[in-house]
Symmetry: C2
Subunit: 399 residues, 2 copies
């Protein structure tokens, strides 16, 4: 089938989401089945507004620089299409003779792609509709990991390694609050900061395990006894024993997918206040890493960038190949000592509805640290970190 192509980006940006955009555009330019290559601005909002740009007209050297640029070059949106949206979208697709549609994003974006694919089926409109995976949370089902995670994880590991060195210099307790509403993958990446056995982060808390202040304070007290200092990595999404996110009490904003906005400094400040009140620690600090985890310029995992580029082109090749009407690209790690990824196509509903959590085997029995299995899993995704070292005289010595 010959026709025009439309591509858009959705959800929270990542450091490599433009690699996927450019991977798809370059693959489309190489295919005889694709005529025009449109980019819609701000996801489905740009389809509704017919706010399109001509991506075929972009010079290759510009595309290659855009690929290296964090955040969504076409703009993004958090919007779930209503039935009226779907009707309006199909009017635009038909008028423009768009036969290939690609939506880059997380599970919410896969859901949107699935809604559009199902509507195309009902209307008998011949459309190839593909989701291209992206999420820093790493929570898509059917995937070993998702593009975007490796670079965000690299930022977290670099930040926490620096922060651990800072805490060694000035002492006390440092709490770092890390993104990840429902999945602890990004918080877990903080553990990659460690080189020596006494390096922080010493404690990690995930949404996957119930969190109580009593247990937290006891853990910190034990760490202070052992190391004379304590660095904590905690997910913004930690939940109390009732299952409700602890940070929710500090936020009221809800997006179109029903997700409550959690990124605020209040959680870290509250945890710090608990330590100050209950333990005799002279210096307690909290940082909330915030949005720069997903868009910082100059902290990309090379593996992540390469994989993000590839999933874009795999999606286009699957779409023009004719074997699949709709689908999403999945990444499977091949067994063996060498890190190697197999790319395949799965049905949209397989990743659209639910998300996955940090598996049990990656969390220690106490629920306050990662396992060696997690480190083995995450290291190739993040790549080697910059060289840092301590004085020989101080290695193995507290503070």
């Amino acid at each position: 089938m010959t026709g025009n192509m439309l591509i858009a980006q959705s959800g929270g940006p990542s450091m490599v989401i433009n690699q996927s955009l450019v991977g798809a555009v370059l693959a489309a330019k190489a295919s005889s089945k694709i005529v025009e290559i449109y980019g819609a601005l701000h996801g489905i909002q740009g389809i509704l507004d017919e706010a399109f740009v001509d991506l075929r007209a972009e010079p290759e050297e510009v595309l290659l620089r855009v690929a290296q640029t964090p955040s969504s070059a076409l703009g993004s949106v958090r919007r779930k299409p209503t039935p009226e949206d779907c009707r309006a979208i199909f009017a635009v697709l038909a008028r423009r003779d768009i036969r290939y549609f690609f939506y880059i994003g997380g599970n919410d974006s896969a859901e949107t792609a699935n809604i559009i694919a199902e509507e195309a089926g009902r209307q008998g409109y011949d459309l190839r509709c593909f989701h291209i995976p992206k999420t820093i949370d790493n929570d898509l089902l059917c995937n070993d990991h998702t593009p975007g995670y490796g670079s965000a994880a690299r930022f977290v590991a670099c930040a926490v390694r620096g922060d651990d060195l800072d805490n060694r210099a000035l002492g006390g307790v440092k709490i770092d609050v890390i993104m990840g509403r429902n999945a602890g993958f990004l918080t877990a990446a903080a553990a990659l900061a460690r080189q020596d056995p006494d390096d922080g982060p010493h404690l990690l808390y995930f949404p996957e395990r119930p969190f109580t202040l009593d247990r937290f304070v006891a853990d910190v007290a034990e760490c202070m006894n052992r190391h004379g200092r304590c660095v904590v990595a905690v997910s913004e999404g930690i939940r109390g024993p009732d299952g409700r996110p602890i940070a929710e009490a500090f936020s009221t904003e809800v997006d179109a997918h029903g997700n409550r906005q959690l990124t605020t400094g209040a959680l870290g400040e509250r945890l710090a206040a608990a330590i100050r009140q209950r333990l005799n620690v002279p210096r307690v600090r909290a940082d909330t890493f915030g949005f720069i985890q997903r868009c910082f310029v100059g902290c990309v995992s090379e593996t992540d960038a390469n994989e993000a580029r590839l999933v874009g082109s795999v999606a286009v090749q699957a779409a023009v190949g004719g074997k699949y009407q709709n689908g999403t690209v999945t990444l499977t790690r091949l067994p063996g000592a060498t890190y190697q990824i197999d790319y395949a196509i799965a049905p949209l509903p397989a990743v659209a509805r639910n998300t996955r959590s940090l598996p049990d085997r990656y969390i220690n029995p106490e629920g306050n640290n990662v396992t060696g299995l997690f480190l083995d899993y995450a290291r190739p995704l993040v790549g080697p970190l910059p060289v840092t070292a301590r004085l020989n005289a101080l290695r193995g010595r507290n503070a």
Copy 2:
């Protein structure tokens, strides 16, 4: 004079403070006048405790890796010596035959070095006492800039460039709170993020200009009208018309030098709340960059690293040279088109007591942005930023 050397680090760590440490140690190893090279742990606290390490014993390859490592390898402290401290310090110096003392830090550390130098004079103890400049705030007098600033400024510029791209993708108002208690230099560095005329940060607020919520909200409203979005860089140290830091209301902790701890998420949240209440903006977010501004691993300005190394060796060379009894190393920029720095020695009191602010010529008349002069000043300190680009079709187009 032949004798032993003692070096220590003080105040807030930086990304290149270990370059200065290693620069001093390597210069000391090259001098026949210096016998033992001791490092005191945690600044003057380590002198009082006689917690010393033997830096001559460290292999050169370890020193070179430590030089690349953020934060203070010897540990740090925020402590101003009392008269009793001084007596105890001199007992240690005399017992160890320490004749060369180097203290790396900001103006508080220069003050400590000066107290020790004056006490040596009173006691008739022959001591060369030198301060080695370090501060991410860039607020030392008698200096074009100080080592540590360029790398922290680079972090801020990379973070804000990414954040501006993120804001383009999702819209609304984004507020970034940046370190700098009394001087706006680090906040001003956010302006280096801009490439295109409509790039953020669109508004910058410094401690050097009175800040009011009314004016802030009006500025943001005007920016939203013009660009349809707004990225704000604001110093943690902004002051109301009464001269009191606005963030002080949210903090009670005070360090030994009388500085109130300002780094908290509360200022950003309060500014965001003001926008939400008074303007009809659907998406308002605030991040407080926090401690990773000074210790992030993998974001160093090459110029800053080289200069930090050099000030360490210049201090040692001045101390063994015999021309100066005490002093601090200063950096002066030579006139001309090519960036070039002259290193000299100034008396300790010249940098110890007061600090400098962002000069008027670097702030626009409205007090909410930098001037081109500032960009010319800061660019060589930070170095070229990683390549980023927008699609040609979108350049010059809002959002």
